[in-house]
Amino acid sequence: MEANALADASRIKPPLNPDNAWWWEMADAGKLGIQRCSACQTLRHPPRPMCGECRSLEWEAVEASGRGTICSYTVLTYPQFPGYQYPLIIVLVDLEEGTRLTSQLVDCDPADVDFDLPVQMSIQQDPDGFKLPVFRLAGR
């Protein structure tokens, strides 16, 4: 892949259906969403159409604080796909609300990432306008 082709490319977009489109619409509006069962109030992520605790099909979206800690991480260096910048730090974040999500850690040297560090969500806008929740080490 030539360098300019890499620079022009954009990340793979999530295919959308009624189970996940709302989450990306919230991201586009600058918010990190969590699905909450309307019947038993259990939070769940990734989103699913039915509550695995009480089988309710009713749910609503709540906005997360964006605060969490690093549960695990990996640093991807190869192969390098167009639309992504490497080294690419992928984090699993335990949100303070209690759910966990997979995201990217930005503005961080791979040598500085570690387990249990506090992180804060922010919305990143790609050059093509696509928005997605990413994380930074807290206080940066």
Binding site: R11, I12, K13, P14, P15, L16, N17, D19, N20, H45, P46, C71, S72, Y73, T74, V75, L76, T77, Y78, P79, F81, G83, Y84, L88, I90, L92, T99, R100, L101, T102, S103, Q104, P110, F115, L132
Partner: protein, 390 residues
């Protein structure tokens, strides 16, 4: 009607093609080759095959292979989902079919141009928005596009929790490479690996480096299952299926079961373990050797714990003690495994387990091998099997 599959069916034949990086033939060609080789091994004519089982990822449908090899009437055909998680599941299907009279001679096969054709490690894409595609979207949008990236997240958490080092992963890679040195079919044949070389590689998906990843392979492998009674009268010494099961557990995702309370265990593999031990009436102490699924080195260490060969966090100690080596407690993947023989999606690990039970491995351990444990893919809906000497 049996109420348990214990000892009902046996593996009467195994067949493999050459393993390479560029087969130069179609996947159906490879399938036909390995299926007929399994028939030849068993002394069963291909025209006697009445059941075919494969993986949903296999491009050669059951009837395509049946026509190619000249099979006649089929009364059982099925495919199992979840990539390498299907491996032992195909045998479970065949054993159930044989035990219930749905078919007499069932062949399980996996044939793939895994290097020259569609490469398994090339990530995910698709046009129809299925629930499976929505699942992958949570990862591909962020750049997690290859199996190594998905498994690294769990491997790293496990290693952090229990102090497992890259040297420990290297010990697994080197143990299996040492076996491959004696196996002319293996990708690692004639290519020794030492710790210095292992540690010198930069990570691909930290903490995993090239040598922690399995091969990419063109090849086919087939396993012929029939009743234990019939298998006794056939050409080769049968490997009796003492127990076999599929297993998936709460919160299961394909490769990315990140949202359970604990990420440093393999609950579906623990389920498989409890099932095969209960069905066979055996425990870990009775297992003499193993072919544990090894798409990545870390999976071996975690499975030693899942199957009760040691306690939680103690897998690394077993590996440091040389347990996986030919004179160790649990000689493992004595053909080189997916890491160093080839990646036929776990089917080639089943073939090696049969050789171990027959006493025919190129690396046959010096001790008596009565029972061999085999597992399917790690991090996906999976399964396990115990084979026993007849």
């Amino acid at each position: 009607m049996p109420v348990s599959l214990k000892d009902e069916a046996a593996i009467a034949g195994i067949g493999v093609t050459e393993f390479s990086k560029a087969s130069g033939v179609s996947e159906l060609n490879l399938a036909a080759q390995c299926v007929t080789a399994a028939c030849e091994d068993a002394g069963i004519a291909p025209s006697e095959l009445d059941g075919f089982v494969s993986y949903t990822l296999d491009s050669s449908d059951e009837i395509e292979v049946a026509r190619a090899v000249g099979a006649g009437d089929l009364t059982f055909f099925s495919k199992i989902n979840y990539g390498g998680g299907a491996a032992v599941g195909t045998i479970a299907q065949a054993a159930m079919a044989v035990a219930t009279g749905q078919a007499k001679n069932v062949v399980c096969y996996r044939a793939m141009n895994g290097r020259s054709g569609k490469r398994m490690g090339q990530g995910v894409s698709g046009d129809i928005v299925t629930s499976d595609l929505v699942h992958w979207s949570w990862y591909m949008t962020y750049g997690m596009l290859i199996p190594g990236s998905w498994i690294a997240m769990i491997a790293h958490k496990y290693m952090h929790r229990y102090g497992v080092t890259r040297e420990d992963l290297g010990r697994v890679a080197i143990s299996q490479r040492n076996y491959a040195l004696n196996n002319p079919r293996a990708a690692g044949y004639g290519k020794p690996l030492d710790m210095q070389t292992y540690l010198a590689r930069d990570p691909i998906a930290y903490p995993l480096c090239l040598y922690d990843f399995c091969q990419e392979t063109d090849g086919g492998c087939a396993i012929l299952v029939t009743s234990s009674e019939r298998a006794r009268d056939l050409r080769t010494r049968p490997a009796v299926i003492r127990a076999v099961t599929q297993a998936s557990s709460r919160g299961q995702e394909q490769m990315t079961s990140y949202y359970r309370d604990q990420m440093d265990t393999l609950p579906e593999m623990e389920l498989a373990a409890s099932r095969v031990y209960a069905m066979s009436g055996l425990g870990p102490d009775a297992i003499d050797a193993a072919c544990l699924y090894d798409a990545f080195t870390s999976e071996i260490i975690m499975q030693l714990e899942s199957f009760g060969f040691c306690g939680a966090g103690e897998g690394k100690e077993l590996v440091r003690d040389g347990a996986l080596d030919i004179d160790g407690r649990l000689p493992n993947n004595t053909h080189g495994g997916l890491l160093s023989e080839g990646y036929i999606h776990g089917m080639n690990n089943i073939a090696e387990a049969v050789r171990l039970v027959r006493g025919e491995s190129v690396n046959q351990p010096p001790k008596s091998v009565e029972h061999v444990l085999v597992s399917s893919g790690v991090g996906v809906p999976t399964g396990a099997m115990i084979l026993g000497a007849a």
